[in-house]
Symmetry: C2
Subunit: 137 residues, 2 copies
């Protein structure tokens, strides 16, 4: 039920926090592996030398939370699934290749982009929580 | 532009972190005041004695981040606005009354609910960031 809900939706929200515990949250595209959630980075940071804030936070503090939800004006139909666990940045190797392929399979928008040199965030899913109506689309 | 984007959307995502910096993120309804974002709590926790995780986190660590975004399969139309700052829990008083009225004005769903005894999260907006196309609806 939770996996189907995640597969059916297109955008999630990734929360990270810096070493002082100050949170940051952005919408992200994602793909679900076996016990890992993958978030492809498709943006080059504005300044090449400085990684994105989400990457800097994960390097300082690996704990992350990720939620996918359905909003509906009929509040009996609201629902969400939250995943939590430690994240790591994959820079290369087999899992990096597989993760980018999974993301490209879900998002045609990624297929024409050059992602090779860009990292992937891998969230090792340690806890799953959900709430509400997960049948809603 | 940023205010209009926030006013036009219906759901935001609130990230909090506990005292150890472990993040948590949930979809929330919201209303924007002068320099404060209000998030009404309309859910009774499952166990009356234990507040919601977002409330417990704010009590331990007031730093929060909140984002409103527009998702579109045309990725040139993606956009988001993020607010960050310290949050506090309003339990009563003038601002609590005003905040619940602002939330009720935006969400008819809240008008029939008894919110009197429930707290409101007030985020004192210290930083605003935005990205992408904020004209998209």
């Amino acid at each position: 039920m939770q996996r189907r809900f995640l597969d059916r939706h297109r955008v999630g929200h990734l929360a990270t926090a810096d070493r002082n515990g100050a949170p940051h949250v952005v919408p992200v595209c994602y793909a679900l592996g076996e016990d890992t959630l993958y978030i492809a980075i498709d943006e080059k940071p504005k300044h090449r030398a400085v990684p994105l804030k989400r990457e800097r936070n994960i390097a300082e503090n690996p704990a992350v939370a990720f939620v996918v939800d359905h909003y509906d004006e009929d509040w009996t139909r609201l629902g969400w699934v939250m995943l939590r666990g430690p994240a790591e940045l994959l820079a290369g190797g087999d899992e990096h290749v597989k993760a980018q392929a999974l993301c490209r399979a879900r998002y045609p928008q990624l297929r024409t982009m050059r992602l090779d040199g860009l990292p992937v965030i891998a969230v090792r899913i340690a806890r799953v929580a959900s709430w509400g109506d997960l049948r809603a689309s």
